[in-house]
Symmetry: C2
Subunit: 158 residues, 2 copies
Amino acid sequence: MSAARQSPVPAPLSKARLRLWLRLLKATGEVEAELRRRLRAEFDTTLPRFDVMAALARAPEGLRMSEISERLRVSNGNITGIVDRLVQEGLALRVAVPGDRRAMVARLTPKGQEVFAEQATAHEQWVDHLLAGLDGDDLASMAAQLDRLTGHIRKECD
Amino acid sequence: MSAARQSPVPAPLSKARLRLWLRLLKATGEVEAELRRRLRAEFDTTLPRFDVMAALARAPEGLRMSEISERLRVSNGNITGIVDRLVQEGLALRVAVPGDRRAMVARLTPKGQEVFAEQATAHEQWVDHLLAGLDGDDLASMAAQLDRLTGHIRKECD
DNA sequence: GTTTGAAATTTCAAGCCTAAACTAAAATTC
DNA sequence: GAATTTTAGTTTAGGCTTGAAATTTCAAAC
């Protein structure tokens, strides 16, 4: 009738990991939701569009469709649609690739560059304010932990 | 021409916060993507369906549509569709609420409970393995940091 | 009791997302 | 150089997501 354990403890770490995962999901989701809200409210755009424009902004020569989908880790067909809409709004262009008639390069228009520059500035500030609860030490230790996490996952999932 | 600063440094913290945000997004996204993959591969289901079933599993009496959408923080119309599909698969039921002819309660069927129990066990193990890169100290410090983060956000966004 | 306003849910339009099928154009192999 | 395979991209079907409109019912005020 004592409190002695009958079997090796099944690692409460497992429960702690699940709880941390839920917290991680919650925190990330809240920040992301707020960023989406503001992108919508301030610039009438979306996070996926912003992400594609961010990728294009770093590549003045433009990026092939497949390069965009690799960098953003989303499917190929997805990019087709998002670039369609950017083109339709005059923010991006599709350019044929000289040597390869299968390939297309997407590139920001001057208007697209201008619009993105504004959005990027605001975005950086928003993130700064939203994460203001974390000081320098937090940032450093969390960065290390997240690196451990992603490092482990890469092993876990081959 | 010296390296003297002309103005108060614009806080490199802001850049560090942006970089941390990207890391957070990446780590969370990778874990989430892997969980989705496995839910699909092992149980032919999706994360949203799993989340709804998890909410219902904690409420044997069932939950009103609006209660589900509040707990999961997704829109009302969204839940309609997900519950539709759960019902169609025989995992959940819609029950009329006696006192209020507007309201509906969703509840797991016995089959739904059974199916979910299996999924939940696997899910907990998956998370444990995916987060195995974090030890007890990591979990504790990260939990505290994430709480600071969400605490601050709640103030930031009213 | 009727009107008015609020609440619970569904429906709808639009966008995001994926996996799989499809098309067209290389690149390789024989 | 013709056949095969690979690669780039789009299309399609199905599901998730939201915000806004529409429905039905309830509650409150009158």
